[in-house]
């Protein structure tokens, strides 16, 4: 009886340590995920990209022109601006 209780207690303790290990691993991976998200946000920041582009000789276009389809009169709306679609 005593031996059985000791064995049971040992099993419970082992499981408890295993759960602790898994929780620690989850925590580590969650931290890593957050760290990568943060790094991605910093790397994709427009200021950083603009600096990189400038250093590599890129610049904004001087003029913006819209091309219209053949059968549409000049000046006719080509579509509705969509801020949500802006990428």
């Amino acid at each position: 009886m005593v031996l059985a209780l000791v064995a049971l207690n040992t099993l419970i303790a082992q499981s408890s340590f295993r759960i602790d290990d898994l929780n620690a691993r989850i925590d580590t991976l969650a931290r890593r995920n957050l760290q990568l998200t943060s790094e991605h946000a910093k790397m994709s920041a427009p200021g950083r990209i603009a600096d990189w582009a400038r250093r590599n000789g890129m610049r904004l276009p001087d003029d913006i022109r819209f091309l219209h389809a053949h059968d549409e009169p000049a000046g006719s709306p080509a579509g509705v601006a969509d801020p949500d679609g802006a990428r």
């Binding site: 207690n9 419970i12 303790a13 408890s16 340590f17 602790d20 931290r31 957050l34 760290q35 998200t37 943060s38 946000a41 910093k42 994709s44 920041a45 427009p46 200021g47 603009a50 276009p61 003029d63 913006i64 022109r65 819209f66 000046g75 006719s76 709306p77 080509a78 579509g79 509705v80 601006a81 969509d82 801020p83 949500d84 679609g85 802006a86 990428r87």
Partner: protein, 573 residues
């Protein structure tokens, strides 16, 4: 051998029985009657509740790119009772923490008569790991979160920032603090006497914290960057004290970009100079100058006090009480239609139109356009502007308000005026937040913006045609863009002195407008504070043009059918 006396044996036995009885009674007291209390004391010694801080929600732009987020960091603390060599420990800590740390101050902390002192708050994890590897006695670590603004000084006045404990104290961080903060949780855990290790199989209950919701703003991150870059360039080019740009979607009231120069990095708000934290687009007022003529013209048309083809005789100056009002440049008395007055930005013409309206209708009209009232955006510190109540008006109030002096507005109020014209006469409440994302990932759309009709569709479209004329042939030519019809108005407002009167040679130069005039997509306010180039048409219109070009590119704005210009003295016979 003498046998002990029976009496002594009995006495000894009785004594033993009594002693045992006392022990039994005491045991009964401890184990039965007071068992609960002692169990509770023992439980309290082993079991510890730990508050679990919730994870603060992100602030993201309209395309869900993060503008503010929380990251893991470490608070480093010391228990001076266990620090062995305060001087060496301080030196090694200072080396790891960086140049800003004062070693002598650290020595004072590490020798203080206390059991807890912070060495560094929100240190980077790499730094904490280096210090941990040193194995310094008496130094401990706490996992915490720190707020990070990954794009640096991007829209800092809108986002605001948090204090060292993560509480929002400015901007959206403050306005939506309770929503972003989440709800703390609790972990109840059974520890060994060292309080460092959990007792396996012991009590371990957890009520997890509820993370804060994410806030989805109306800001477009990349466009905001372009707006800030353009604003900085024109502030420097015009050697202005500062500037403000607001870009708004006239249909939804969404603020797509909002920038004030100079700005600051919310990752290090303490480095900002005094006043640089203020979101001047919302919290500060200025006299709008000639941009206010839009209201004068719209009200005159709405109240039908002037005909579009009517020619007014406009001198270049006129006396109003003790003051002399004049146009920006001398000219002979000349005939002008209301379209000419707006396009050429004639102060005297605007005064003549306003006099036909009279103070009561002018006052009502200013109020209908939202001047003197908060917009309802609910941003911390929003100013309602200054429009004196009608009973305080003097003889000079009506004429000066006709061309935008003697009243004060925020840039947000003024862009809302132009947005109303662009939106066929319907005022739409501006907004900075599109909705929230709860911890389960569900998006909750913010309530639709409040709308109210201010002027008729016909009036709004007629004023739009006047504003298009102002860009094509009038003072706003610097804002024109090839292939697009732009509608807008220049403003050059003098700056009032605190003791009365106006500063000489100091002005707020502005250009507010929208495009394409025939079917507007965006409304843009470009305002420069004290540019050396003085005039709105010279200083601010090119800034508007630059921002508008960015908007065309970024938002995919196509040209629309052009509006027909209003009658002018050249077309009216």
């Amino acid at each position: 051998m003498n046998r002990p006396q029976l009496g002594r044996l009995v006495a000894l036995a009785l004594a033993l029985v009594v002693a045992m009885g006392v022990i039994v009674v005491r045991l009964a007291i401890l184990q039965v009657s007071r068992a609960g209390a002692f169990q509770a004391i023992a439980f309290d010694q082993r079991v510890h509740p730990i508050e679990l801080a919730p994870w603060r929600g992100q602030i993201v732009d309209r395309t869900r790119e993060p503008l503010a987020m929380s990251v893991h960091a470490t608070d480093i603390y010391a228990d001076p009772r266990y620090v062995e060599d305060a001087w060496t420990t301080s030196q090694r800590l200072a080396e790891a923490l960086g140049e800003d740390v004062d070693v002598e101050e650290l020595v004072d902390d590490l020798t203080a008569d206390t059991s807890f002192v912070f060495v560094a708050r929100q240190a980077e994890n790499a730094v904490a790991e280096r210090i941990d590897a040193m194995g310094l006695p008496g130094i401990g670590f706490l996992d915490v979160s720190a707020r990070s603004y990954p794009a640096g000084p991007l829209a800092p006045h809108v986002l605001g920032f948090v204090d060292i404990d993560g509480n929002g104290i400015s901007g959206l961080e403050y306005q939506y603090d309770s929503l972003l903060a989440g709800t703390p949780g609790e972990r109840i855990i059974e520890l060994d006497p060292s309080r460092l290790h959990r007792i396996a199989g012991g009590v371990d209950r957890e009520r997890p914290p509820v993370p804060g919701s994410d806030l989805v703003t109306t800001i477009d991150r990349d466009f905001q960057y372009q707006v800030q870059a353009g604003l900085e360039e024109y502030v420097e080019r015009n050697r202005a004290r500062g500037g403000t740009v607001v870009v708004m979607d006239r249909r939804t009231g969404d603020v797509l970009a909002m920038a004030t120069y100079p700005w600051f990095d919310p990752n290090d708000p303490a480095a900002a100079k005094e006043g640089e934290w203020r979101n001047r687009a919302i919290t500060d007022v200025f006299e709008p100058g000639s941009t206010n003529k839009v209201i004068t013209a719209a009200c005159a048309l709405e109240e039908d006090v002037i005909d579009l083809e009517e020619r007014l005789s406009v001198p270049w100056k006129m006396d109003v009480g003790p003051f002399t009002i004049h146009d920006s440049h001398p000219h002979p008395v000349q005939p002008m239609t209301i379209g000419d007055i707006l396009a050429q930005s004639s102060n005297i013409g605007a005064v003549q139109v306003a006099e036909r309206l009279g103070p009561t209708r002018m006052s009502r009209c200013l109020s209908r356009f939202g001047l003197g009232h908060q917009t309802g955006i609910a941003f911390p510190g929003e100013d309602e502007g200054i429009v004196p109540p009608l009973w305080q008006w003097t003889d000079s109030s009506l004429p000066t308000m006709a061309y935008g002096q003697g009243i004060a507005v925020t840039p947000l109020q003024m862009i809302s005026v132009f947005s109303t014209i662009a939106n066929d006469g319907v005022w739409v409440q501006p907004r900075l937040v599109r909705g929230t994302i709860d911890p389960g990932g569900t998006f909750h759309r913010a309530a639709d913006a409040i709308r109210r009709r201010v002027v008729s569709v016909e009036t709004a479209r007629t004023v739009t045609s006047m504003l298009a004329l102002a860009v094509d042939e009038g003072t706003g030519s610097g804002a024109s863009i090839a292939g697009y019809q732009v509608a807008g108005k220049t403003g050059t407002a003098r700056i009032p002195r605190p003791q009365g009167g106006y500063y000489t040679g100091r002005s707020i130069a502005s250009f507010i407008g929208f495009l394409p005039a025939g079917d507007p997509d965006v409304v843009i306010a470009a305002i420069l504070d004290r540019p050396t180039t003085v005039y709105g048409g010279i200083a601010a219109a090119p800034l508007f043009q630059t921002i508008a070009r960015y908007a065309i590119e970024r938002l995919g704005i196509a040209p629309a059918e052009e509006v027909v210009y209003p009658p002018t003295v050249r077309t009216v016979r």
